[in-house]
């Protein structure tokens, strides 16, 4: 496969294992995706589906009980998995940023906003000491914090949740990263603030051309803010492609069920259809398709082996528009023509 020049990130067959008390689990299983400059990828899935572990693998910030077992993570052409910890320190906070879920806990309570934002300039040694203050004010301005000069000496507890998330964004975009990972950045916020934050991220993206991985379980937000989407289930990507195509014509039964589970005002007459059952226990995965126990379309074949259409897409390529993961032939297996 030819690597596109525009690809900022190219994750190939990433597999991350976690040692737990009940044995080793594969939290991220053979995951591949690409992200081009200025694009936004929505990473969707239930809790425990491997979204966050994928992000932490990219950042090389996995907890000590976890390790990347195989695969490659090419960032601007270089494999991050071969970098030394010192080299990763230089990349993090400068070329790759990451926003965490809960802004109430992600800022250090004992340092001022100015200090915390200033550190990304100070420790990446790309600014002179006396320039740091003005750089901080500039980036606080960019994330629309009113009267930044007055807020410079404030502490996190004097800010609201939305404001703190803006500070978090300021910290992570200060050095104009090429990639921003947003791990459920708005889950802990009010709905109105949510949209403000997402619009802000999009604005910054349009100015700077950074790529964004947007981790969420909110499909509405994916539809509004992402170019591509990758749906994860039990550690694997089950479907990926341009948002428009996937949403208009979801191929994988899990994706279909997810979409059917979104409340819609226009269809208020319809009943919501929750997906029955629970995600599988990671230490005891089904032999065949991992979604099979909950799948309405499952056949005998699914229980025995992974349906071949799934295996086929794992080797398949990127995420650019027009490239679908599954051909009609593959889907035929799952069309309930003969059953219902």
């Amino acid at each position: 496969m030819v690597t596109g020049v525009a690809d900022v990130l190219q994750v190939e067959n990433l597999t991350t294992c976690v040692a737990t008390r009940n044995g080793i689990i594969t939290a991220v299983d053979n995951v591949s995706f690409r992200l081009s400059r200025g694009a936004t990828l929505g990473l969707v899935g239930e809790s425990g589906s491997g979204k966050s572990m994928t992000c932490l693998s990219i950042q090389r910030l996995l907890p000590s009980n976890s390790v990347v077992a195989s695969g490659s993570i090419r960032f601007k052409g270089e494999d991050l998995l071969t970098k030394t910890p010192r080299q990763m320190e230089a990349i993090r906070g400068r070329e790759i940023g990451m926003i965490l879920q809960d802004p109430m806990t992600s800022l250090n309570p004992v340092f001022t906003i100015g200090q915390q934002v200033g550190e990304v300039f100070r420790y990446h040694k790309n600014s002179r000491k006396r320039d740091i203050r003005s750089k901080v004010l500039e980036v606080l301005n960019r994330v629309r914090i009113p009267a930044p000069a007055e807020r410079y000496h404030s502490y996190p507890h004097q800010f609201s949740g939305g404001m703190r998330q803006r500070v978090s964004i300021a910290i992570n975009i200060g050095n104009h990263p090429d990639l921003l990972i947003a791990d459920e950045p708005t889950t802990a916020l009010d709905v109105t603030v949510q949209l403000q934050i997402l619009h802000l991220l999009r604005e910054i993206q349009q100015e700077s051309g950074m790529a964004i991985i947007f981790v969420t379980h909110d499909l509405n937000l994916v539809a509004r803010f992402c170019d591509d989407v990758a749906v994860m289930y039990a550690g694997r990507i089950v479907e990926k492609g341009p948002v428009k195509t996937v949403f208009a014509d979801p191929k994988h039964p899990y994706t279909r069920d997810l979409l059917a589970a979104i409340p819609r005002i226009s269809k208020s007459g319809d009943r919501l259809r929750p997906i029955p059952g629970q995600p599988p226990v990671m230490t005891n995965l089904p032999k065949g398709c991992r979604f099979e126990p909950r799948c309405r379309l499952a056949t005998e074949r699914c229980r025995e082996a992974y349906p071949d259409w799934v295996a086929q897409k794992e080797t398949g390529g990127g995420l650019r528009a027009g490239r679908r993961q599954w051909g009609q032939n593959d889907i035929a297996v799952h069309r309930p023509s003969g059953r219902s």
């Binding site: 906070g93 806990t105 992600s106 340092f111 001022t112 420790y123 502490y155």
Partner: protein, 305 residues
């Protein structure tokens, strides 16, 4: 902020008053010093005369108020045993206790905090295991016992250090280590626990995401948050060591405050006890105030509440 300080100051004054009142009452309940001051053959009239001259015949409340009035001008009365102003006897001894206390505390902090931090950062490593061993030994051996062992080895067997008394640094080494190791063990365990908790915090993850060097993450971001309980513990230790170094002072014949108070209670030399306890209460209050200010300086959330 000034309101915070003022409130703390008022609380300290109330604390000191309460402590002096309790000590005042208790020491008078224990017994009548005139029994010890007069020879056994003295008559009841003699004793009554002495009680009157000492003001012991008046109601307790009046006695206490007089004590407070004298206290306001710094007069703690005469010690009948030493026939000197009680406070000057106390102050003579307090210097020795302070030297011992602060050396022991210095050992506790300088050893306990770094080992605690390293144990939390490199959990289950050899540093952590060594630290654990060090803490278990330190906390299970009472300081006086450890002191006796040291005397047996370093003084009697090797003859390197004097067995007791005061003088140069050589007299200070063993009592300070005996006291300090015990405190160091607690300091270390608390630092480790507090650091372990803070290192799991989201803002530490954020610090890593920012690409900060490890030493900045550990010593700036984590330790500043983890040190609050350690500071409290150290301050408490300071109080404990100030008044409670009695056993170690006895083992090493260290002429400190603890030993003096013990002896004065036995002899019902109440002016000394009052002077010493007031001084200890004062320093306790001062330490607490200092800790509160330190808290506010470290954690802005306390400052603004």
């Amino acid at each position: 902020m000034s309101k915070y300080v003022l409130m703390r100051l008022l609380q300290s004054i109330v604390t000191i008053l309460l402590v002096t009142a309790i000590v005042f009452v208790v020491i008078r309940v224990i017994g009548d010093p005139t029994h010890l001051m007069l020879p056994p053959e003295a008559t009841a009239a003699d004793r009554e005369l002495l009680r009157r001259t000492m003001g012991l015949d008046e109601p307790l409340v009046i006695q206490y108020l007089r004590f407070l009035g004298d206290l306001a001008v710094g007069d703690f009365g005469l010690s009948y045993r030493f026939n000197q102003p009680a406070m000057s006897v106390v102050l003579e001894r307090v210097g020795h206790t302070l030297v011992l206390t602060f050396t022991a505390l210095g050992i506790a902090v300088l050893i306990g905090v770094p080992i605690g931090v390293m144990s939390a950062v490199y959990r289950d490593s050899w540093i952590d295991l060594t630290g654990k061993l060090f803490a278990i030994v330190g906390q299970s051996a009472p300081p006086f016992f450890f002191g006796v062992l040291m005397i047996a080895f370093f003084s009697v067997h090797l003859g390197w250090l004097p067995t007791g008394g005061t003088g140069g640094v050589q007299y200070l080494i063993m009592p300070a280590i005996a006291l300090g190791w015990y405190s160091a063990a607690g300091t270390m365990r608390l630092t480790r626990a507090s650091m372990s908790e803070v290192l799991e915090a989201e803002y530490i993850k954020m610090a890593k995401i920012k690409g900060l060097p490890q030493r900045v993450i550990i010593y700036k971001h984590a330790l500043r948050n983890a040190c609050l309980p350690v500071i409290t513990f150290t301050a408490l230790q300071l109080g404990v060591l100030l008044g409670g170094a009695v056993s170690v002072e006895a083992v090493f014949a260290w002429p400190g405050l603890g030993f003096l108070i013990l002896k004065s209670i036995e002899d019902l030399d109440y002016t000394i006890v009052q002077a010493a306890v007031t001084l200890i209460a004062l320093s306790f209050a001062a330490i607490n105030l200092l800790v509160d200010l330190l808290y506010a300086w470290i954690d802005p959330r306390i400052r603004y509440d």
